[in-house]
Amino acid sequence: MLFYSFFKTQVGQQVTVELKNDLAIQGVLESVDQFLNIKLRDIHVVDPERYPHMLSIKNCFIRGSVVRYVQLSPSTVDTALLQDAARREAQSTQQMNQAKPNVAQA
């Protein structure tokens, strides 16, 4: 849930979503769900010469599984907060695994 929460804090920000097929789309993050599916508005493709289709598209929904990267603007990211959240998440998932001792018992 960490990155779902994180992307919710990015709603309204300009982001560039790079897909696994190399298409890169820049736009405003409109919404995100638990699968990290993404809705963008006011989009443009970063390399329109190579990807001339989509020129007429203003909004899109991107399935989370086809995303390779999302470029963010650093000023919108509180890195100290993120690191703390990551440590807390690591602790809680570890406790969940310990609650099921039959799984992966070393």
Partner: protein
């Protein structure tokens, strides 16, 4: 009827080679040799003193390496 002689599971094997030098082949064909520090139920692997081989040639060394389990084809003790 007695119990089957071979009751050793793959997990028993993996636990028995913790701390040993192992050879890991990935689906991509890339090979790793290193000391097996630990692994988990996803077959994520932590290696120490890792050497990376591409087409059998040494390409890289890593002090520590985490390998994401979905890439693993097999692990063998060496």
């Amino acid at each position: 009827m007695s119990e089957p002689a071979n009751k050793r599971t793959p997990t028993d094997f993996l636990n028995s080679i913790l701390g040993q030098r192992v050879f890991v082949r990935l689906n991509s064909g890339i090979d790793y040799k290193g000391l097996l520090s630990c692994l988990d139920g996803y077959m994520n692997i932590a290696l120490e003193q890792t050497e990376e081989y591409v087409d059998g040639e040494l390409r890289n060394r890593y002090g520590d390496a985490f390998i994401r389990g979905n890439n693993v084809l097999y692990i063998s003790a060496i």
